[in-house]
């Protein structure tokens, strides 16, 4: 059959349909491809950004391990910060990551590495600012770092430019607390005022500052006040700042704002009957009602008082005990066991096998101490507890895996001459005394500046870093240890009166004068001298045959037929003070727990009572003083300048770093007695001694130049309130920028320095593959 030649439109139709289908398919494909590419690209950007952030975190990690780490110097060019010269550096991070983290080899310039399938490059450098003298606690020339980090994933690059504020918690902060910083010291019904001066106050989880009050803020008899004096800033990284009462404060002038001198008004009422979800009420937990609360801060102090909303967050971070230990084992002093049994209050579980380090009294030569071979690198490390006091001759780091008890004056030396014969001259501005003045008289404090002189022959303070894995505990039980430099010259005065046949107050007073040159005429017969010292020992209730013998020996060997010049009187005082201490301690090296129970029959306490009375009335006949006489008020204490009459105070200077959590029974709020890392006198249960003068608010003064850091990182044995209570001393905590290490202008790097980093500014920017390669 012949094929028919039939025409139709099937092909055209098919082609048409095909075209339409192709268009649809192409459109769908194109759309899908666009969407897929967009998603892929976004994903790559996110990954590249994460890599850039990883670079920033790596830089911060290196800085945490070595706060001097930098890859480049930075220069300011017009309105730009530019990278300048590559710097030698050492990386310290381990590549023990499940995410493929590694740092490339190299020890100079840009730090590069990889993470997963991507790479990062990062540069770090210090912004070259000058130190600003207005901020005493911060060295701005080392405080700001530029960090630039790039991350690349496939061919997508992101760049982060940040500026980081480098902080040194233990060196800049008068008080740093990894939990809640409580500045509520003292007791109800007391009129004393604690002073906190210069530097920063920082509580990571919050800060509470208040007069001691009670009865839901309606206490008719409120107690100790706190005074914030010339503080740089009060900060919390993660909490609020609570003033439960009005607080007197002065703040430094800062750029962009005037200074402040006035009263910070109460901004929060502590809730009574609050809830404590963690059940940690007795160990520092804030009531639930206060958590996440940031009380209003008055506008006129916002420049200095900043809560968590300011983002200045410096979380606590542990010091490197391993590194300290290595240093102690190589050029330092390492102790695996103690050399004494240290008596402590029941709460601390003693007696403790401890290493006892008495660095001696330094220039005054009152006491030798027991550290005969000071290690070359100045590092002492013990696996056990450590007890310290005295004046280290050189810069020192004292580190314990347990507690460090500061059991007496620590690190305030004197030249041993003139006004500094027995101690740094603890004099106060005219009209003020130890309890009412914020600090020593300015002209004397000028002398402290010698400490910062390079190669200076004498230093009042060395750079002292005291680090305890558990707690640094201030043990102010013993006046022998805490008040030796005040009691010793007064004992000399008492002796000058006592040995004379015809007591001559004017001549005896020369003992108390730096220019006095006393010449005391005792009996010209040994029997007469014996009679006088018998009266003396009876008056001071000390019966010690060896003392009598020693005093007679001094008479025979040092005096000139009964004429005591200063050297002879000094020798007499030494043997007498030794006997006084032995009576108090039972002959032990340290005096944490008195050997006698009836202090009114104790020579040291009688000496204290007489000294206190003399400081209130310089014309008083101290022979008439046989008991503690409480001054009418702190203001009634006369504390003249230029003599050797010094108010009894415990002076402890350095950077004191505790890593343990809150261990004493410690309720937050203003209406309870708070117990800090301290051991002091307790009437019944504290295990301390019965020193009546401690009870008074006009009693012991505890002065600290330096900083106090409580990191709150490790669990420590908890102490019930019944096992460590004490009457609180008046506190003067002063950041002193002449104290070495606090304002170390020549600071050239210490990889054991506690450091923190606050990201001030953060920018996420794009970059090209070429820029990454060239970086």
């Amino acid at each position: 059959m012949k094929k028919m030649n039939r025409k139709g439109s099937a092909i055209i139709t098919a082609i048409g349909m095909g075209i339409v289908l192709l268009i649809i398919i192409a459109a769908v494909f194109s759309f899908s491809r666009y969407r897929t590419q967009t998603v892929i690209q976004e994903s790559k950007k996110v990954k590249a950004l994460a890599l850039a952030e990883a670079g920033l975190e790596v830089a911060l990690g290196e800085l945490f391990n070595n706060s001097t780490f930098q890859t480049h110097t930075v220069k300011i060019n017009g309105e730009e910060l530019e990278w300048e010269s590559p710097q030698n550096r050492e990386c310290s991070l381990d590549a023990n990551s499940d995410h493929g983290f590694s740092e490339d080899s190299g020890n100079s310039g840009t730090l590069s590495g990889s993470l997963g399938d991507g790479k990062f490059k990062v540069r770090v450098g210090t912004i070259p600012y000058q130190d600003n003298d207005k901020t005493k606690a911060i060295d701005e020339s080392k405080a700001y770092l530029r960090v630039e980090s790039m991350g690349i994933y496939d061919k997508t690059v992101r760049r982060i430019i940040a500026v980081v504020n480098r902080r040194f918690p233990a060196r800049e902060f008068l008080m740093y607390d990894g939990g809640i910083l409580s500045v509520v010291y003292g007791q109800r019904g007391e009129s004393s005022i604690n002073t906190f001066s210069i530097g920063h106050l920082y509580g990571h989880e919050g800060v509470e500052i208040s007069q001691v009050i009670n009865k839901s803020h309606a206490d008719p008899n409120p107690g100790t006040k706190q005074k914030i004096f010339n503080i740089d800033a009060i900060l919390s990284g993660n909490g609020g700042i609570f003033f439960y009462s009005d607080v007197d404060a002065t703040f430094f002038h800062k750029n962009g704002t005037e200074g402040f001198n006035g009263t910070i008004p109460k901004n929060y009422t502590f809730p009574s009957g609050g809830k404590y979800p963690k059940g940690e009420e007795a160990f520092g937990e804030m009531p639930e009602e206060m958590q996440n609360v940031t009380p209003e801060i008055p506008e006129n102090i916002k420049a200095w008082v900043k809560d968590k909303n300011s983002g200045i967050s410096i979380p606590p971070r542990a010091p490197s005990f391993d590194d300290y230990k290595k240093q102690a084992q190589n050029g330092g002093a390492y102790y695996s066991s103690g050399n004494t049994q240290y008596k402590v209050t029941p709460g601390f579980g003693g007696p403790l096998n401890a290493v006892y380090l008495d660095f001696g009294s330094g220039g005054s030569k009152i006491r030798e101490g027991n550290v005969n071979n000071f290690p070359s690198n100045g590092v002492f490390y013990s696996d056990k507890d450590i007890v310290i006091k005295g004046n280290p001759p050189k810069d020192v780091s004292i580190v314990s895996e347990k507690n460090i008890f500061v059991a007496g004056d620590f690190n305030q030396n004197c030249s041993g001459e003139g006004k500094e014969r027995y101690c740094y001259p603890q004099d106060y501005p005219s009209g003020k005394n130890a309890l009412t003045a914020d600090d020593y008289v300015d002209t004397y404090k000028e002398d402290f500046k010698k400490d910062t002189e390079a190669n200076g022959s004498f230093k009042y303070h060395v750079a002292a870093t005291i680090v305890a894995k558990e707690r640094v505990v201030f043990d102010h039980r013993s006046p022998v240890d805490c008040c030796e430099n005040e009691l010793y010259p007064f004992l000399k005065y008492e002796l000058a009166k006592a040995i004379s046949d015809q007591p001559n107050e004017d001549e005896a007073k020369k003992v108390l004068s730096p220019n006095g040159n006393p010449n005391i005429v005792a009996s010209d017969s040994i029997d007469g001298f014996k009679a006088n010292i018998a009266t003396f020992t009876d008056k001071f209730k000390i019966s010690d045959s060896s003392l009598t013998t020693d005093m007679e020996n001094v008479y025979n060997n040092k005096s000139n037929g009964g004429k005591f010049d200063d050297a002879a009187l000094e020798e007499l005082t030494k043997v007498t003070w030794k006997a006084f201490k032995n009576q108090y301690t039972g002959g032990e090296d340290y005096t944490g727990n008195a050997a006698i129970s009836d202090v009114k029959k104790c020579a040291v306490d009688l000496l204290l009572f007489k000294l206190r009375a003399k400081m209130c009335n310089e014309n008083i006949d101290t022979d008439t003083v046989t008991e503690f006489v409480e001054p009418d008020s702190p203001q009634s204490i006369v504390d003249k300048q230029g003599d050797y009459l010094y108010y009894p105070e415990m002076t402890t200077n350095g950077m004191f770093i505790s890593c343990g959590k809150q261990n004493n029974t410690f309720y937050s709020g203003p209406d309870v007695d708070k117990y800090f890392n301290e051991i002091g006198y307790s009437g019944s249960t504290g295990g301390g001694i019965s020193n009546q003068w401690y009870k008074s608010p006009k009693g012991l003064l505890h002065r600290t130049f330096g900083t106090e850091t409580n990191l709150r990182l490790y669990d420590v044995k908890r102490i019930p309130v019944s096992e460590n209570t004490y009457y609180p001393p008046t506190r003067k905590k002063v950041y002193d920028d002449t104290l070495l290490k606090l304002d170390d202008k020549d600071y050239s790097g210490n990889n054991l320095e506690l450091s923190g980093f606050v990201v001030l500014s953060w920018q996420d920017l794009g970059a090209t593959e070429e820029e990454f390669e060239k970086f």
Binding site: Y129, G237, L760, S761, D764
Partner: protein, 215 residues
């Protein structure tokens, strides 16, 4: 030679088939086009949502201090009940523009090397002639410079619309004792085309990275 031709019937049948074919083709094409348009519109919604959240994310991450009242901190159980019209449903923060090239120690005592701006994201009802309760929301970004006393200088304020057509937008924080500072900022954002069924909702969490200057 006799030439064959299509019969009328054949032509009619062919025409009917063609019409049916073209009709179905048109329907397919038309439907695809409609769907494509919808997809594109939905995609535009998704894009707008993503862009807005990315922009706010960048803004917040560069912030130096987020106001702890804007947005407030809520219990987790309260979050479901939050509404766009809540008075405190705002995101307020401070962005500091540091001039790090200026050494602060070289400045006069009343000067600092930074300026600061207060940024506020807030919602208002769309303005339209027949605005109703069901009207959608508009997100506004306001930026106001702060003077040396850290007070806003409203004369310098800049305002612009970030996004319109918002069905719901909630700024909030969640109480969590384990989080640092006031915790992350959460943003719940839902947008959709007017009178259409499609809408997209996203919840993101952001944390600021910067900090305020100490002085």
């Amino acid at each position: 030679m006799k030439r064959k031709a299509f019969t009328l019937t054949e032509v009619m049948i062919a025409a009917i088939i063609l019409v049916l074919l073209l009709t179905s083709l048109w329907r397919v094409f038309s439907s695809t086009q409609r769907n494509a348009k919808t997809v594109m519109e939905n995609h535009a919604i998704n894009d707008a949502l993503d862009r807005t959240l990315i922009k706010i994310t960048d803004d917040v991450r560069e912030a130096n201090s987020i106001d702890d009242e804007y947005p407030p901190l809520y219990e987790e159980s309260d979050i479901a009940g939050l509404k766009t019209e809540d008075e405190k449903n705002q995101l307020k923060f401070i962005k500091v523009d540091y001039k790090f090239h200026i050494d602060p120690s070289t400045l006069d005592s009343n000067k600092v090397n930074y300026t600061a701006n207060q940024v506020v994201y807030r919602l208002e009802k769309e303005v339209e002639p027949t605005a109703t309760e069901n009207s959608k929301w508009v997100m506004i970004r306001e930026m106001t410079p702060l003077n040396e006393n850290r007070e806003p200088v409203t004369s310098g304020m800049t305002v612009y619309t970030v996004l319109s057509g918002i069905d719901e937008c909630i700024f909030y924080r969640v109480k969590d004792p384990e989080t640092s500072r006031s915790g992350n900022i959460f943003i719940k954002l839902r947008i959709g085309e007017k009178d259409k069924k499609y809408s997209n909702e996203s919840i993101i969490s952001i944390k600021e990275r910067g900090a305020m200057p100490e002085s």
